[in-house]
């Protein structure tokens, strides 16, 4: 209690929004688990990005078929990447809103994030469909296999994030997401930002490098 008073007196915005931390470590266990999970995800995505790189130069040697430089529509993917990047901004604004106790803005930003995410996934579905029409399938060549598995896995992660955000939105609409439960939004935010930073590297490694 005294500590909270000290925080208030020192002018710091002590985040009352956060749940109490009563662990021995002084940090919340769910957050610790989330960071551990994200750390392990780095290894998962690292494996698929490395695999994509390993097979990228070998396509022509193995089978003939569509190759990255003939398939990618960089302007289109740039727009969807931009949308995903902006969804990170709306996500962090949602967290700031709940920490301020502004539940109306929380709902707006949560919904905006979910919509941006859905637009990104929609763009990915469109891209996959176009590639399929042009003859690139999961088994047409090594490019198809590594590309669809890597970007598809990322797309699944985004979809899980959208569902999570919509669940939070639903909870907020039912007034079951008070300011004290802001950790729930923070956790979803950590996951969402992680999905975003993974895309930053996929966009760089898969889409931009083949241009050269």
């Amino acid at each position: 209690m005294a500590q909270a008073v000290v925080a208030a007196e020192s002018g710091a915005v002590a985040h009352a929004a956060h749940e109490e931390h009563t662990t021995n470590t002084g940090v919340s266990n769910p957050k610790l688990a989330m960071w551990l999970f994200l750390s392990s995800e780095a290894l998962l995505f690292g494996a698929f990005i490395s695999t994509y790189f390993l097979y990228r130069g070998r396509d022509a040697q193995f089978r003939k078929g569509p190759t990255p430089d003939k398939m990618f529509n960089i302007p289109f993917t740039s727009v969807t990447s931009f949308i995903l990047l902006m969804s990170s901004l709306t996500m962090v604004l949602a967290l700031a809103a709940i920490q301020r106790g502004d539940h109306r803005r929380l709902r707006i930003w949560l919904l905006a994030t979910a919509l941006f995410g859905a637009t990104f996934v929609g763009g990915q579905v469109f891209e996959f469909t176009e590639f399929y029409r042009q003859g690139l399938t999961l088994s047409s060549n090594m490019f198809g296999t590594t590309f669809f598995v890597l970007t598809g896995l990322h797309g699944v992660h985004v979809t899980v994030g959208i569902i999570w955000l919509l669940l939070l939105y639903g909870r907020s609409m039912q007034n079951r997401l008070p300011t004290e439960k802001s950790l729930a939004v923070e956790m979803a935010g950590l996951y969402w930002h992680y999905v975003d930073i993974v895309w930053i590297f996929i966009f760089f490694a898969v889409y931009l490098i083949p241009q050269h």
């Binding site: 500590q3 662990t23 960071w35």
Partner: protein, 132 residues
């Protein structure tokens, strides 16, 4: 004069004790307010970071279209810009800059481990990487 317990030592080793402890400010591990719940940036700062990210993305796309640029130079530039975006999102949006150093260390450990493991794999097959 407070006694240093084993828990304090372990917390310090893990980077869980805030630097402000000596100053007698917020020190409540297990208390009502987390020592790491410092001031988070405001919406204005977040928007500013978002704008920087947009500018970097635009530069990234421009570089990818510069056919006159040496292939490896372009890749290095693109890699640097991707790393900048990664750093900005991690530091500001994921609050890694303000949160407990332990989380940062945990996350970086995963990244370093992954980089070493896959770096070795890619090195072994270097002839297939960065080749058109």
């Amino acid at each position: 004069m407070t006694e240093t317990t084993d828990v304090d030592v372990v917390q310090a080793d893990l980077g869980l004790v805030p630097p402000s402890e000596g100053g007698g400010e917020l020190v409540p591990a297990g208390g009502e307010v987390s020592p790491y719940d410092h001031e988070h940036p405001g919406p204005r700062q977040y928007v500013l970071i978002g704008m920087v990210l947009v500018v970097i993305t635009a530069a990234e796309i421009s570089v990818s279209y510069m056919t006159s640029l040496n292939s490896n130079v372009a890749i290095a530039l693109l890699g640097c810009m991707a790393a900048m975006k990664f750093f900005l999102v991690c530091a500001w949006f994921m609050h890694m800059k303000m949160d407990a150093p332990f989380f940062r260390r945990l996350f970086i450990s995963g990244l370093v481990l992954g980089s070493i493991v896959y770096g070795i794999v890619l090195f072994m097959f270097a002839s297939t990487v960065l080749v058109r």
